[in-house]
């Protein structure tokens, strides 16, 4: 029996978490840790990778390997982490600004590459860390100190985009629904290939519109939805009120992963970081340039 005082895996000892009291990131952290524990992952073989934002601080509050890079730039880094050591489980935590604004291009191409990563987008429909400007998912009409006349452009639809580009696993969760979120994260991690989970997350400090109550009221859990059907999934992705929670799409025949197709692993599956060329290889190749 584990003594009561001992920390469970991933929990760590984080006295000072910089989120606001009541922030939706707390329940997401709880769901995430429960999922990692549920999957019985080894914290030393699990990397939490992120960019910058409130959501992106998550890796500092979970006891695991950590890569906390630049705002918007986590996906190329995470792709390489998995490619250089496929034995690692790599989870990316990100915000709606981090992933859908600054990081948009990497998202597109990460979906195309399909590395075996789990991408959690904490979607609070606002820029939290920079104090409340609109994010790509802010609803039309939302006023902020920058969007003084209200947001007047179309909110970004992450799930629809992922679906259009052929992502193999797309789900939507809500921070307020802890168990469901744990469940969805577990499924996402198990999915072989890129799995995107857009998680509604109340920001109690800056988003007074999309609160816990609002999300409760404006979401429903998918029931008789055929998640293996891309056309059906598209219609679900376009639904806006209420918003569906659950697995929107899971490809029954998931395409091969990026790292799985690399020539470097064609005959030898030793993680790349343990293998490298050297002077002998260079000299052998030089032979081709001898006159």
């Amino acid at each position: 029996m584990v003594p009561e005082t001992a920390k469970q895996p991933f929990e760590g000892d984080f006295a000072d978490i910089a989120w606001c009291p009541g922030c939706g990131n707390f329940p997401i952290r709880k769901s995430l840790i429960a999922a990692l524990q549920g999957l019985e992952l080894d914290p030393r073989k699990t990397v939490l990778a992120s960019g910058i934002g409130q959501a992106a601080k998550m890796p500092h509050y979970v006891e695991a390997q950590l890569f906390n890079g630049l705002h918007g730039r986590v996906l190329p880094a995470a792709t390489a982490i998995k490619a250089v050591n496929p034995e690692l489980t790599v989870i990316v935590t990100s915000g709606d600004g981090d992933m859908y604004a600054e990081g948009g291009n990497h998202l597109l191409h990460c979906i195309r590459r399909n590395p075996d990563l789990t991408l959690l987008v904490h979607d609070n429909m606002i820029y939290g860390l920079t104090k409340g400007q609109a994010s790509p998912t802010s609803p039309r009409g939302m006023k902020t100190p920058v969007q003084t006349v209200g947001v007047f452009v179309e909110p970004f639809n992450g799930p629809a985009l992922a679906l259009a580009l052929g992502c193999g696993f797309i789900a939507r969760a809500s921070a307020g629904e802890g168990e469901q979120t744990t469940e969805l994260i577990m499924r996402a991690v198990r999915h072989p290939g890129l799995a995107v989970v857009d998680i509604f997350q109340p920001c109690v400090s800056f988003n007074k519109l999309n609160t816990y109550a609002w999300f409760k009221e404006h979401t429903y859990t998918l029931d008789d939805h055929d998640a293996g059907n891309r056309a059906a999934a598209f219609e679900r992705c376009l639904e806006s009120d209420p918003l569906p929670l659950g697995v929107l799409y899971e490809n029954p025949n998931p395409p091969p992963t990026f790292e799985g197709q690399l020539p470097a692993y064609a005959v030898d599956d030793t993680p790349l970081w343990r293998r490298k060329p050297g002077p002998a290889d260079a000299e052998e190749l030089l032979a081709a340039y001898r006159v």
Partner: protein, 564 residues
């Protein structure tokens, strides 16, 4: 100038796609096999077909490694010219053209390349006729010519190979005829050096140097003139433990490299100035995360899109300062092909030992120029300097050198935290301004002390008791060296810098001993001269700057020296 050259400079000009590059490649191989020394460089327009491109081939008795203005034989394959090319054609230049088709060069001697090719079979063979023509001028053995042509075309089938061999043979006769008629009288003879020789360009040297340095991850976005290194490595991705990934943009490249390095790989990123500019933020994260990265930047003329396929040395300031905040970095700039090989390997060594970004500056001229050379230096196998982590591992532990033991994910009992904020020794975000912030900044900058102490020394060419010192960096080395050798002045020497930052203190004595300092640079403002002043306190007396998209020629430097 008296014609005391021991080499022949041949320039072919043709449209993009007309096959000038095939002639270049074959001729280089042919001449080298004939025991001659050979150098080839090209300058091309930013287009796939049409326009006017040119290739210079220098074939000599002694090693030839630099670009010259002088054209001994000019072979235009296109009825159009460019002022910068036209300017190089002098009274002594023998112009060989198919005058029926190409009528803009008044003094041209007719060489019916197409007619001969058609006699052999089809007009397509005219490149082989041209190759033969040059072989004839150079008095290269017919058997060797046939062999080289045959090898090249063998893949296309026996008939085609045979036709090309015949075309080359006929071309060679044209060439021999010109020599016999006294139209051409330069002879170059093998220098008797029978050692095996290598034929490399800068691109290959960088790629091979990277492999020698253990590069196992290359990520890049195509950009002239840096793409060659990506292609060269890609060709090896199925034989070597090596991932080569073309990414969506340059920002992805540098951040992907960060992830790769944090996981234990040895990444190389290759790009040009515009790409390096885009990677500026990423470079700063490599610095702050303390990760090893080699970043190759093949320079082309800027600003902005500039001249995509030409040469310049205008990105030094960017290499020195890209990224925000203060962090340790190294900038290296190979002067020639051997150095490109050696310094790329060295760049990995420094990156791995110090956990820093190392920028390797080349340029279009260097990466695209070929010459024959002897054996390359033997290089050592480099250590990763990776430790197996213990439970109390701290990614950014303070040490005397500023370098913390390098742990990687999943290797050992510890947690490895690579972080982009100001962080504590564990890699967690810190806002302790009193102690952690200044100390972590100092820890990172401490590396510069070690780096400076082992900075590569500048190399002196020419007399030790010079009065005037020419200063070069990057690919200006070889044209300057040849010019200096030709003049045989005992008061002028050349100081070449393979390492640009941190600058070696050994330079102080060299600079201090000169009465006059002249800096030669391929940019419009004298960026290296500025650096010398800033870092070493030496103001150069004069700058020779070139920024028209072409590298320095031997004559550019010779003119400078003769005016001294």
């Amino acid at each position: 100038m008296p014609d005391n050259h021991t080499d022949v400079s041949i320039v072919l000009a043709g449209e993009a796609g007309q096959g000038v590059q095939t002639v270049e490649r074959l001729l280089v191989r042919l001449a080298a096999r004939a025991g001659l020394h050979v150098f080839a460089t090209k300058e091309v327009m930013s287009r796939i077909r049409g326009g006017v491109n040119s290739t210079e081939l220098r074939v000599g008795t002694r090693p030839v490694r630099a670009f010259v203005d002088r054209i001994d034989v000019f072979i235009p394959l296109v009825n159009q010219t460019m002022p910068h090319l036209q300017r190089r054609i002098g009274d002594e230049t023998l112009i060989l053209a198919e005058t029926s088709r190409i009528d803009i060069h008044p003094g041209a001697v007719d060489v019916p390349l197409t007619a001969v090719a058609e006699e052999v079979g089809k007009a397509l063979y005219s490149n082989s006729v041209a190759l033969g023509l040059i072989a004839g001028l150079l008095e290269i053995d017919a058997g060797l010519l046939g062999e080289v042509v045959g090898e090249h075309f063998s893949a296309k089938g026996g008939e085609i190979a045979e036709a090309n061999r015949e075309a080359a043979r006929r071309g060679r006769e044209l060439g021999r005829g010109l020599v016999e008629d006294g139209r051409f009288s330069k002879t170059v003879t093998p220098d008797g050096d029978k050692g095996e020789r290598l034929l490399l360009n800068g691109t290959r040297a960088v790629a091979l140097g990277a492999l020698a340095g253990g590069c196992n991850y290359c990520c890049a976005y195509p950009m002239s003139p840096s793409t060659g290194v990506l292609v060269e490595l890609a060709a090896r991705q199925d034989e070597l433990p090596l991932v080569v990934e073309q990414v969506e943009d340059e920002i992805a490249a540098v951040n992907m490299a960060a992830g790769a390095a944090a996981t234990g790989a040895r990444p190389l990123v290759t790009t040009s100035g515009g790409g390096l500019a885009l990677m500026s933020e990423g470079l700063s994260v490599i610095g702050n995360m303390e990760l090893p990265l080699v970043l190759h930047c093949a320079q082309r003329p800027g600003p902005a899109t500039g001249l995509p396929t030409r040469s310049e040395q205008g990105d030094l300031n960017l290499a020195l300062h890209a990224g925000h905040g203060d962090f340790a970095r190294v900038v290296l700039a190979p002067g020639n092909i051997e150095e490109a090989y050696r310094l790329t390997h060295h760049a990995f060594d420094l990156a791995l030992r110090y956990q820093i970004p190392v920028i390797l500056l080349t340029d279009q001229y260097l990466v695209d120029s070929f010459h024959d050379l002897g054996e390359l230096p033997e290089l050592e196998s480099l250590d990763d300097h990776i430790v197996k982590t213990k439970a109390d591992y701290r990614r950014y532990a303070y040490t005397e050198s500023g370098v913390s033991p390098r742990g990687v994910y999943g290797h050992g009992a510890g947690f490895v935290r690579s972080d982009s904020h100001t962080h504590d020794q564990d890699g967690h975000i810190s806002e302790d301004l009193h102690e952690t912030r200044p100390r972590m900044v100092e820890k990172q900058l401490l590396k510069l002390e070690g780096l400076q102490a082992e900075a590569l020394e500048p190399v002196l060419h020419g007399p030790r008791d010079y009065q005037t010192l020419l200063i070069t960096w990057g690919s200006t080395l070889e044209p300057a060296r040849e010019a200096l050798e030709n003049t045989r002045r005992d008061d002028v020497a050349l100081l070449h810098f393979p390492q640009l930052y941190p600058l070696p203190l050994a330079a102080l004595e060299y600079l201090g001993s000169a009465e006059r300092l002249i800096c030669l640079e391929g940019n419009a403002t004298g960026q290296f001269a500025d650096l010398l002043l800033r870092e070493l306190g030496f103001a150069v007396d004069e700058k020779l700057l070139k920024y028209n998209g072409l590298a320095f020629t031997v004559e550019d430097v010779a003119d400078l020296i003769s005016d001294l």
